[in-house]
C-alpha cells in the first residue's frame, strides 16, 4: 500500500497523518485521552471490552466503533467524548463492575464516569475477559499456554482441561499485561518461575527480570537480569524488546572487560550487614516477625516495598508493640565482631521516632548496652527521644526471643532496675553489626592494599594520611575503611576525591626518591634483575661507541615504574644496583652501628 496520507477530524481537530493507524493511535498523537482496558501497545488489539468506543459522526456508517481497532480513514469525523459515547462507556463500566466489583481499575473508571448502583446480577470475578493474556501468550510469546474456554457468560481463560500447563514458560507476560491482576501464572504453570526477591528491599517484595535496581539508581535506567529472564532461559518472550520505543534492548550484548589506564583509584566498597541468623537466640530467619534494621528501614521508607506502611511479615497487621535490639553481633568476641558498629544507636533512635509517626498508639522498647551518640547534635537527638517518650530504653542484653500465642516474647535483663524483663512484642528489630562488603579481601590483594583481620582496609596512617593507602594513587572512602555513618563517609569521600585530584592535576608525579640506580661500569648485562622485578621497571639500554656500533646491552631502571623494593639489588651478583636511601654502605653503617 502506498504511503498515503489521510485527513480526518477528531473532536473538531483536523489532523493529517499516514494511513494504516487506528483511531486510538491518531488520538494519542493529538494527546486526546481515550480510556482502554483490553488494549496494550505491544499486543494486537481485539476491540473486546468496548470501553474505547468513539462516535463516528461522518465519513462512514455512523455509530459507535472501538478506537483501538477501527482504522483511521480519510474523511472520518469522530467525537471521542459525545454524550452517546459517555453513556455507552458508563453502561460498559456498570456491567463490568457488576461482574468484577473487586477490580481496582474498574472501580476507579466507574467513579470517573459517575456510575450508580444498577439492579444487576452480581458476580465476583476479577477477570473482565479482555483477552490480553490470551493474545500476548499466543501472538507475542508464541507459547499459547492459556486460551479461552467455553462460550458466553461462562467463558473463561484457562489451560486445556484446566490442567497444569507444561508448555507455559512462566514468563509472567500475562500477569504483566492483565489490567486487573486477575491472572497468576504460578497457579497453572508446571515450572513456575520462582518469585525474584527484590535485593534492594531485602526480599520484602519481588521484582521482574527487567527492573530499575532502586529508585535512586544512577543511571536511573532498567537493567536486564539474564539468569531470570525467560528469553535467555527458553528463547521465548522478547516483549521488552518489542515495546521499547528507543529500541535500546539488544540480547546479543556481551559483558566487556574495559581496561582503563587511570591515575588514581578510590576504593569505596561500602559495607554489608552481619548475618544474624547465626544467633539462634534471637530467632532471625526462624520467626518472620524478627526483622533486621535494614528491612525495617525499607518498610518505613515511603519509596519502599510497603509504601511506608509498617506490616508484620507474618500476618500483615500493624505492630502495636515493637522492640529494638542493639549490638547484635557488634562488641561481641565470640561469634560476632569485637568492634562497635558506631551507627546503630543513632539509626535506632531515628527508627523509634519514625515508628511513633507511623503508629501513634504504638509502644517501642530499645535494649541497649551504651548509647553511642558521638556526632554533632547526636546526643540532643537521643535525649529528645527519651524526653518525648518515643521509646522506653532498657539498659541490658536480651537472652532469648521466642513466640507465644501469636506474639514474640523478648526476655532480657534491665541492669538499671536490676531485674529480668519480658516484653511480648508484635515485631523485633535487630541492629546487626557492620562488616566490609564481601570480596573486598581479594580486591585489596589485587590493589596491594593492606587490610585488617575483619577485612576493613588499612589507611596509610590513621592520623596523617587517613584517606590514603600504602600504595601510591589508591585512596579509601567510607565504610570499607571502618564502620561509618553518612556524614563521615561524605567527608571522607570529598577528602579522597581532593587527594586524587591533587595527584592527577600535576604534570609530573612527585614520589618517594627511594628507587634503584644501575652502575653501568659493573653491570654484566645478565638481566637476572629483569626477571625478579615485579614492576617491569628494568629496561635494555644499548651502549654504542662513537662509531655507533653496539658495544654492550646493559640494564637501566625506569624511574616512573620502579617502586624501590630492592629485589634487583639483592639478585645482582656484581652489586651493580643500589636503592637510593638503602644503599649498601648505609645498610652496612647501620649494621656496624649495632655491632659496636
Amino acid at each position: 500500500m502506498t504511503e498515503k496520507t489521510i485527513k480526518l477530524t477528531i473532536d473538531n481537530q483536523e489532523v493529517q497523518t499516514e494511513a494504516g493507524q487506528t483511531i486510538l493511535d491518531v488520538a494519542k498523537s493529538l494527546s486526546i485521552e481515550i480510556p482502554t482496558l483490553c488494549y496494550h501497545p505491544a499486543v494486537p488489539s481485539a476491540g473486546a471490552c468496548r470501553i474505547c468506543v468513539v462516535e463516528i459522526t461522518a465519513g462512514a456508517r455512523g455509530g459507535l466503533v472501538p478506537a483501538c481497532s477501527y482504522p483511521a480513514q480519510d474523511g472520518l469525523e469522530i467525537q471521542t467524548d459525545s454524550e452517546r459515547v459517555r453513556q455507552s462507556r458508563k453502561m460498559t463500566l456498570q456491567l463490568l463492575l457488576a461482574r468484577s466489583p473487586g477490580a481496582k481499575i474498574i472501580r476507579e473508571m466507574a467513579e470517573q464516569y459517575g456510575c450508580e448502583e444498577l439492579p444487576l446480577e452480581r458476580k465476583d470475578d476479577d477477570c473482565i475477559m479482555c483477552g490480553l493474556c490470551v493474545r500476548v501468550c499466543q501472538q507475542i510469546i508464541g507459547t499459547a499456554a492459556v486460551c479461552f474456554a467455553g462460550r458466553g457468560p461462562d467463558r473463561e481463560v484457562s489451560t486445556p482441561y484446566k490442567l497444569l500447563s507444561d508448555v507455559c514458560i512462566g514468563c509472567g507476560a500475562c500477569a504483566f499485561v492483565c489490567p486487573t491482576g486477575a491472572i497468576d501464572p504460578a497457579e497453572f504453570c508446571s515450572n513456575p518461575l520462582e518469585k525474584i526477591a527484590n535485593e534492594f528491599n531485602c526480599g520484602i517484595d519481588n521484582r521482574t527480570p527487567v527492573h530499575i535496581p532502586f529508585p535512586q539508581a544512577v543511571p536511573n535506567k532498567p537493567v536486564l537480569d539474564r539468569d531470570n529472564c525467560i528469553h535467555f532461559r527458553t528463547g521465548g518472550c522478547g516483549v521488552c524488546k518489542e515495546t521499547c520505543p528507543a529500541g535500546a534492548i539488544d540480547y546479543e550484548m556481551e559483558d566487556q572487560v574495559v581496561e582503563e589506564d587511570v591515575g588514581a583509584i578510590i576504593v569505596a566498597t561500602g559495607y554489608k550487614l552481619f548475618d544474624t541468623k547465626v544467633f539462634e537466640e534471637y530467632g532471625y530467619g526462624k520467626y518472620p516477625d524478627v526483622v533486621s534494621s535494614l528491612e525495617f528501614e525499607r518498610m518505613v521508607s515511603a519509596s519502599g516495598p510497603t509504601d511506608g506502611q509498617l506490616y508484620r511479615p507474618s500476618d500483615g497487621k500493624e505492630p502495636k508493640t515493637i522492640v529494638f535490639l542493639q549490638c547484635i553481633g557488634s562488641r561481641r568476641e565470640k561469634g560476632g565482631v569485637p568492634y562497635c558498629s558506631k551507627i546503630c544507636c543513632m539509626y535506632t533512635a531515628k527508627h523509634t521516632i519514625l515508628y511513633k509517626h507511623k503508629v501513634h498508639d504504638g509502644q517501642a522498647f530499645v535494649f541497649y548496652m551504651d548509647i553511642r551518640s558521638a556526632g554533632k547534635n547526636y546526643e540532643e537527638f537521643v535525649r529528645r527521644v527519651l524526653t518525648e517518650k518515643m521509646a522506653t530504653y532498657l539498659r541490658g542484653r536480651v537472652s532469648k526471643v521466642f513466640p507465644r500465642n501469636g506474639k514474640l516474647v523478648v526476655r532480657g535483663a534491665d541492669t538499671l532496675s536490676g531485674g529480668q524483663v519480658e516484653i511480648s512484642a508484635d515485631m523485633v528489630v535487630l541492629a546487626p553489626a557492620m562488616q566490609p562488603s564481601p570480596g573486598v579481601q581479594e580486591l585489596a590483594q589485587k590493589l596491594r592494599v593492606g587490610y585488617d583481620q575483619h577485612g576493613f582496609l588499612l589507611e596509610a596512617h590513621p592520623k596523617l594520611r587517613p584517606v590514603e593507602t600504602n600504595t601510591a594513587g589508591i585512596f579509601l572512602a567510607g565504610a570499607c575503611h571502618s564502620p561509618q555513618d553518612i556524614p563521615d563517609c561524605v567527608a571522607q569521600a570529598s577528602a579522597a576525591a581532593s587527594k586524587a585530584l591533587g595527584l592527577v592535576s600535576h604534570k609530573q608525579l612527585t614520589r618517594e626518591p627511594t628507587i634503584g640506580v644501575v652502575n653501568e661500569l659493573s653491570c654484566n648485562g645478565c638481566f637476572e634483575c629483569e626477571n625478579v622485578c615485579a614492576y617491569k621497571a628494568i629496561e635494555h639500554k644499548e651502549l654504542r661507541d662513537r662509531a655507533g656500533n653496539l658495544t654492550a646491552i646493559l640494564a637501566h631502571i625506569n624511574e616512573g615504574l620502579c617502586q624501590g623494593c630492592g629485589a634487583c639489588a639483592v639478585t645482582c651478583r656484581s652489586k651493580s644496583i643500589e636503592v637510593q636511601g638503602y644503599r649498601d654502605d648505609q645498610m652496612f653503617a647501620e649494621i656496624n652501628a649495632i655491632g659496636r
Binding site: 654484566n524 645478565c526 638481566f527 626477571n531 625478579v532 651478583r573 656484581s574 652489586k575 649498601d584
Partner: protein, 287 residues
Amino acid sequence: MSANGTITQALREAAAQMLSDKKVGVVIGYGRDEGQEFSTPVFLRKAEEVERLVFDDLCFGNLAVYLSRPAIRKMGKTGIVVKGCDLRAVNVLLRENVIKREDVLLIGVHCGGLGEPRLPKCLVCEVHSPTGCDVVVGEAIEQPEVKAEQRYTKADEIEAKPVEQRWEFWQKQLSKCIRCYACRQVCPLCYCKRCIIEKNTPQWVETSPHVRGNLAWHVARALHLTGRCVGCGECERVCPMDIPLGAINQKMAKVVDERFGFRSGFSAEDEAPFTTFSTEDSEEGIL
C-alpha cells in the same frame, strides 16, 4: 688407534673445515705439547694449525671459561670443543646472555670419562653424549643410569657430621685459603667485570686471608653459584690449598634440587631458582 685417537682425527677435520670456510674466527680446543702432564687449551686461528688439536683422557679443563673473555668475543664467532660437562656450563652462559647461540659453534665430543683414576665427577656423569651441538665426534656411549643419591656424595659426607664438627672442619679448611682466587679464575660462571671482592665502598668481604674474610668469601661464592654451578669440578681441582670447594657447591646444588627440583645447565631456557619464586615454596622454619 685408540678411541681418543679417532676422536682427535675427527676433531682436526672438523676444525679445519670450520676455519677454512671462515665460519668461525677461532676454534678453542685442547692441545698437547711434549712434556706436559695434562692437555692445555689451544686457540686455532688458521686451518693449518689444526694439527695441534688432540683429545685424550687428560683434557680436564672447562674451555667454556674463555667464552666470556672480551678478547675471544672480539674474534667473532667461536668454535669450541665441548664435553658433556662443559656443555652444561655453556647452557648457563647462554641463559645469562653472556653469549648468543648464533655466535658459537659447539663441537660435541662423546666422552666416557677422563683421568686415571676417573675424576669423581665422571663417575656420576649423566651427559656422556652431549646434545644440541652443531657437530658431534666419536661414537655414542651408553649412558648408565645415575641415581639421585649418588649425585651429592661429598656434601652428604660432610653433612653427616654433627654441627660442631662441621664448624671445626670448615674453620680448618677455610683458614687454609690464601685468597689466590684461582677458584674464581677457572670457574666459567664467574665472569663479572668487577667481582664483589674488588668493591670496597662498602667492603662486602674482608680481603685479608683471615678465616673471617675467607668464610664470607666462600659464602658469597656459594650464594653466587647456587642454581648455576654445573659441577664441572675445576675450582676444587685447581685449588692450591686443596680446600673441598666442590662440597659447598654440591650442597647448594642439592638444596636447589630438593627444594625446587631444579638442576642447572640442562637447557638454555630454564629459570635460575633465585630469579623466580613459587607461592607454594615451603614455609617450614618461618615463625
